[in-house]
């Protein structure tokens, strides 16, 4: 599932972009060391392949709904993790631009969620050890299932973290995580089944392709433990950072969720964390201190250090704000319309 710009805060978006750019740099460097030029067109064309394959719908077994593959795990097995990660990043970039799936700020998160977890975590740590040499179809199936499910679960959990760290939604952490992880369990199983099927198919038709792919990646059975540990440590820092933020904001997850659902006001959640810091920054940068739509109107959100509520003047501000926004919007549209007409005339004059 694609993360969307509208749910992100700049801080979260920027951190995931930073992680993603680092990962792209790392993958490119690694690939340059041990491949020939042949890989470049192969990766590009396989990117187009994943793009097309994602458009092939099939029925997800046991649910009746239809879905499509993500492709990260197939690529990791067939190309090795570095090339697979770069291909996934390109596919997501094309989708972000042409289908506007998520948007440009969220692209960093999406590459991280849908590329990094399957290629750099699930593939080397789960698929490789479980599948062995990959010749046994049953082992291959089990490995692909476990790895695809784990990769998607990590991605889904990551979406939950990104959404909640951004603080644009009111969803309680537990319920949201449960919902996302359950949905993605079914998707993960489907992905795993199709991945295993495609790998077995390719192995039976052109076994040498898999051997070549293994050669162009890092050598078999020698996944560097240090690198894996480094990645895991990085993830642990991110996860624990996120979790501790939740822990500090909401001392008891369940209590907090109940309070949220029942409308209790015991927790002053939105004043802390990234969202709170941003809002404070905005308050400081506001030129007219009384231009605080939410402060005057929203009781539950008023922080202890916030300005006192406005009375009559506040209502006036609010009306002026609404009228002004409407005018600005209309003027924008009028400008666009005028430009259109003027351009049309210019064309006819020529």
């Amino acid at each position: 599932m694609h993360m969307a710009d509208a749910l992100l805060s700049p801080a979260v978006g920027a951190s995931f972009w930073a992680g993603t750019i680092a990962a792209i740099g790392y993958a490119s460097k690694k690939l340059k060391q041990n491949i020939d030029d042949k890989m470049v067109p192969l990766m590009g064309v396989l990117g187009a392949f994943i793009f097309a394959a994602q458009l092939i719908n099939f029925t997800i077994p046991g649910t009746g709904s239809s879905g499509h593959i993500g492709g990260g795990m197939i690529l990791a097995v067939l190309l090795g993790p570095h090339a697979a990660f770069l291909v996934m990043a390109s596919v997501l970039l094309v989708q972000a631009l042409f289908f506007a799936d998520g948007g440009l700020l969220a692209l960093g998160c999406n590459i991280w969620n849908l590329g990094l977890y399957p290629c750099y975590i699930a593939y080397p740590l789960l698929y490789r050890p479980l599948a062995g040499d990959g010749r046994d179809p049953k082992r291959n199936l089990a490995a692909a299932l476990v790895a695809a499910v784990a990769g998607l679960q990590m991605g889904a959990f990551s979406v939950v973290l990104e959404t909640l760290l951004s603080g644009k939604t009111e969803l309680p952490f537990g319920a949201f995580a449960l919902l996302m992880l359950t949905i993605h369990l079914a998707i993960g199983v489907a992905e795993g089944l199709v991945t295993a099927g495609v790998i077995t198919y390719v192995r039976s038709a052109r076994p040498e392709l898999l051997e070549n792919a293994a050669l162009s990646g890092p050598p078999r059975q020698s996944v560097s433990i240090r690198k894996v540990l480094a990645i895991l440590a990085l993830l642990a820092v991110i996860t624990s950072g996120g979790l501790s933020w939740f822990a500090s904001t909401h001392p008891d997850g369940l209590e907090w969720a109940i309070e949220k659902v029942t409308g209790g006001r015991g927790v002053e959640g939105s004043g802390q964390g990234v969202a709170g810091a941003l809002r404070k920054a905005q308050e400081r940068t506001a030129v007219l201190p009384d231009y605080q739509f939410k402060q005057e109107t929203r009781e539950g959100d008023r922080g202890t250090d916030g300005p006192p509520p406005q009375s009559a003047a506040g209502a006036g501000t609010s009306v002026a704000g609404i009228v002004g926004a409407a005018i600005v919007l209309l003027v924008s549209l009028a400008v666009g319309f005028t430009v259109r007409i003027l351009r049309g005339r210019g064309k006819h004059a020529q």
Binding site: A4, D5, A6, L7, P10, I24, K32, D37, V40, L42, M43, G44, V45, G47, F49, F51, A52, L55, I56, F58, L78, A89, S90, L97, F98, F99, A100, G103, L104, L105, T163, K168, T169, E170, A190, L193, V194, G197, V198, Y201, V202, A205, R206, L209, K260, Q282, A286, K294, T297, G300, T317, V319, A320, I322, V323, I327, V328, V331, S332, V335
Partner: protein, 268 residues
């Protein structure tokens, strides 16, 4: 999104990106930079902000009208894409305990934050579509390369784009064949999808091998050189400056508020 729709969208955006207008002629780098700045500015608003986002609509409106882009097509794209933000956002009114009074009506503060998500969604999504429709994919790739993205990554991006249309046409034929042979839910099982994807993969690899050989015989050495290099021109610098200054104005000054007060004074 159905396959035909996806295919049509990409083709249409690709065609649009080769128009010749003021916006299309701008350097790809300034357009990428301005779009990123725009998205960050829009997203940086706190969650209960709706009204002060309105001035930001000026940017997509101007880009669309100056760039001669079809309004309805883009609006439809924005409406259909990615229901995720909407699905998550619609839960805000349920979980938000606060209330808001707008022009005398009291409603859950969650409606305001939901509205804010919708507005941000419309702005950021249209910005991405407008970028590609005015810059072209190779243009964006060139900009990425000159921003310092690794050559290997950019080269295979260009390959991806070049062969996207070829592969999509091939897949279109395969999907059509499947539709013709399946009645009801038959033929849509994962088993069939596996064979389709598997054989598509093999064909793709064989195609890549042919492409590579053809390229080798034409002197390919691992990098795709960009033929049309141009420097920043005055117009590009002006565009970026105007965009940055006006985004900052919209973001940090209550433009809508002032307009509203001015209008109130005018009609008093």
């Amino acid at each position: 999104m159905s396959f035909d729709q996806a295919f049509y969208t990409i083709g249409r955006l690709d065609l649009l990106s080769y128009q010749d207008t003021v916006v299309h002629r701008l350097d790809a780098r300034v357009k990428v930079a301005a779009t990123l700045l725009f998205v960050v500015m829009v997203v940086s608003y706190p969650k209960y902000e709706v009204l002060s986002l309105m001035p930001f609509f000026l940017f997509p409106v101007l880009m669309v009208s100056l760039g001669d882009l079809p309004v309805l097509f883009l609006v439809r794209k924005v409406l259909v894409v990615s229901p995720f933000a909407v699905c998550i956002g619609i839960l805000n009114p349920l979980f938000d305990p606060g209330t808001v009074t707008v022009l005398g009506t009291t409603l859950s503060a969650g409606w305001i934050s939901f509205l804010s998500i919708l507005v941000k969604f419309a702005l950021t999504i249209s910005a991405a579509l407008i970028l590609i429709a005015t810059t072209s994919f190779p243009g964006v790739c060139g900009a990425l390369r000159r921003f310092g993205v690794p050559a290997l990554f950019v080269s295979q991006l260009l390959f991806l784009y070049r062969y996207l249309f070829v592969l999509l046409e091939e897949t279109l034929r395969i999907i059509r064949a499947r539709e013709l042979r399946s009645f009801g839910g038959r033929g849509r099982e994962a088993k069939v999808a596996v064979r389709i994807i598997g054989s598509l993969f093999l064909r793709t690899v064989e195609r890549a091998e042919r492409i590579y050989r053809a390229m080798l015989s034409r002197g390919f050495a691992g990098d795709i050189p960009v033929l049309r290099r141009r420097g920043m021109e005055a117009a590009d610098a002006l565009f970026l400056t105007v965009a940055a200054v006006s985004f900052a104005l919209f973001r940090f000054l209550p433009v809508g508020e002032w307009t509203g007060r001015f209008a109130q004074e005018l009609f008093r």
